[in-house]
Point group: C2
Chain length 452, copies 2
């Protein structure tokens, strides 16, 4: 598909042909009918078994990347891959690839997700796309379907960024985001990233080998829960992801003066918490000040000294802004900065922010979006186009391959919580669309890209 | 002086006489002239030596009550008392009394302060009044002054409330504030209060014996730094404390719903931090809404889950209000509660508060206030009447004896900080006024209260 990008007119024509031909092509290769190809019960059982790794009494999981629970879950996943006939390989960043041969010498079609969770996380984020990918392979096997491209199921390492604050770690290693200096980064447990990779059985010296060369993949697909409430509210079973929002994240500090809460008159205070409170509300005001789906959040405040009877002298707080349009993020931030400066003057508190992290928006490949829409339609499932407000491994893969994502509804829009839930029907629908999209992309890509 | 309370007309007349006669009476007993009786250099050396216990690299101290540094400082103070000829006794709450005989069989005149500090505290809070009291004894010795009342220097245990969150611990034991159940209270290090008293060499079974029976003391005086900036700003060397403000302290919790900061639209959030930020600002608004010296503070927020990419689901925060007038505290709190309810409705966040702690205001004895004013005047020092915004051991002693406090300026109003500072001249002035006030009270009380 990456060739498409250079030769637009050709490719759009070719693509239209493919979308029209693909279902027929897939039909040739499989024994099942036009109904459901994946096995919902088998997929559910696999997901329920996966949920045992790191399970908490509240029914959720804590399966942090690089933890013992994660290691055990990875073993489980590799076992499933092997049982499905895949050849398992773990790259230098710990990413797990399960390989299935194609009938032609073509670049790999990659699809999968992650199985690590946040602290006190749920049983669907990442899991659905990972187990769904393995289910697609099993369904292909059941139906004796071969593909032109080799297929690979991927389970990315440490998507949630545990220990090192490096979200989408495995896919970022694959996209070449990191230099070798990242290996010396020390996590919150005192171990370096290199130490952790060794625990994963990897040789840190070969870390750069995890990089996927742009163009080496025919395409990337990821099934994932929405993590927001848009699909659930609209009663739409399948989301076609337009792209993954850009995220900018600033670290801010309000510095006033800590003093005795009983003896310091109200008009002589330099209350860092009052200033930070006004700052947090200003962020919200400015995000709300224009229409659109942009979001802005102040997720915590670290308050010093933090005693009931001492006026806070210093407050650290982050500001996070997300949108598909980087210009909108910039515009909002400029307004926020002006507000912070005014608050600082009025409160006699210094407010200073520094950009801490920045992820550019990543667009889904328009042809893959169309193909997912078509796949859902053929499966009798309504779709809605929407952005991913959450960061995704797919945003990294988008740097090296045409990418598309399939969302299924999250009940109540809840995620990163033990209450995270998608119905088994929603999960099976997502896997079915992934199954069909893989086969369509197999046909589409084969027509676009000559054998190598 | 406590008898005075019942017989007002008599006593005011008698008191006027005393104030007029007292300087002359004091003169009869001492060899020094009308100038300075205390020895500023000796007082400074004692304070500087005390500052070595728990000293930190920034020049401040961490000498938490019940800590090793505190234990060592107590030994030092007891040594100073003995060297000044005092008979040392430690009561069942760990309070240190240094006794000096009087010439008549009269109730004790008590004066002193505390020597424990807050975490990262300074070298003046408590220390000035404790070492100042010992200096008064030494000056009386130097000048061969005897008193009618026995004098006792007091160093109260754990005024800052380390380990157990029980501020003015020793003086509260003396005022009978605690029942025996307090002994089972477990501190932040896992030890009970009874365990700590044993470390102090006390028998917890005798804890109730620390109680001072109302009327048993002729009076109580405490020299202390202001901890606020009023005297410093007005360039007034001596503050006559009108009373110690009442403190009410509520624990509040804002409960919203923690959700993904990227996928949850702005209009579907139940952001507990946004609600708490508005609540903190509402507290300030309502405190400022009427004239006066009242203060209100939100000293911290505990935010869960507290991640950059998660909308805060729950925020715990305290609200503290202080004023000499309890009705004003009540009035402000009623307005704050209404504001919280409105914020909760608007933010779809539950805000709930519960009264956590309450200290009634404590008035200084009006006659002792007049006597301190007179003592300062005779020493050629200007005075200002002002409340203590900080809690004090004196507020507990006020429950069992007529009480008065002498404040000296805190530079810049800074306290509970390594930067806490009072000039050595201010410190000596305070000790001199204490010296004179002790002698005046000795005469005043002797006239008011027959020998027992």
């Amino acid at each position: 598909m990456s060739v498409l990008r250079g030769r637009k007119i050709y490719s759009v024509l070719a693509f239209a042909l493919v979308v029209w031909l693909a279902p027929a092509a897939a039909q040739e290769n499989k024994s099942a009918g036009a109904g459901q190809h994946v096995n919902p019960q088998r997929l559910r059982e696999t997901l329920e078994k996966l949920s045992e790794f790191g399970r908490k009494p509240d029914g959720g999981v804590t399966r942090l990347g690089f933890s013992e629970a994660d290691m055990a879950a990875r073993e489980y996943a590799m076992g499933l891959m092997r049982a499905a006939g895949l050849t398992v390989r773990v790259d230098a960043a710990g990413n797990i690839f399960g390989h299935r041969e194609g009938t032609e010498k073509l670049p790999v079609l990659l699809f999968g997700s992650h199985i690590d969770s946040v602290l006190h996380g749920g049983n669907f984020d990442g899991d659905v796309g990972s187990m769904g990918a393995i289910e697609v392979i099993r369904a292909l096997n059941d139906n004796h379907v071969t593909t032109r491209h080799p297929l690979e199921v991927i389970i990315w390492t440490n998507e949630e960024g545990n220990h090192f604050g490096l979200g989408t770690f495995g896919s970022s290693a694959a996209s070449g985001k990191f230099g070798p200096e990242v290996l010396a980064r020390r996590g919150d447990d005192g171990l370096t990233l290199a130490d952790w990779l060794r625990r994963y059985g990897q040789d840190p010296a070969r870390f750069a080998e995890a990089r996927i060369v742009p163009g080496a993949l025919a395409g990337y697909l990821e099934l994932h829960i929405e993590q927001g409430g848009v699909l659930d509210e609209a009663h739409i079973p399948i989301g076609v992801v337009q792209g993954i929002v850009g995220i900018k994240h600033w670290k801010c500090a309000a510095t006033g003066f800590a003093n005795h809460a009983g003896t310091t008159p109200m008009n002589r205070r330099q209350d860092a918490l009052a200033a930070a409170a006004r700052a947090a509300l200003a962020v919200r005001d400015e995000v709300r000040a224009e229409p659109g789906r942009q979001v802005g959040t102040v997720g915590y405040m670290k308050i010093e000294p933090g005693a009931v009877n001492v006026i806070p002298g210093r407050v650290e707080f982050p500001v996070e802004l997300r949108d598909l349009d980087p210009a909108k993020i910039e515009r909002i931030w400029n307004r926020v900065e002006k507000r912070f400066a005014a608050i600082g003057r009025e409160e006699n508190v210094d407010i200073h922010c520094a950009l801490d992290d920045s992820d550019d928006p990543a667009s889904s490949d328009p042809e893959i979006q169309a193909l997912i829409r078509k796949a859902a339609e053929e499966a009798g499932l309504a779709t809605m186009d929407l952005p991913s407000g959450a960061g995704q491994d797919a945003q990294e893969v988008a740097k090296v391959a045409p990418m598309g994502m399939i969302f299924v509804p999250s009940r109540g829009g809840i995620s990163h919580s033990p209450k995270e839930f998608s119905t088994w029907e929603d999960v099976a629908n997502g896997a079915e669309v992934l199954y069909r999209a893989v086969l369509m992309l197999d046909q589409a890509s084969a027509r676009e890209r000559p054998a190598q």
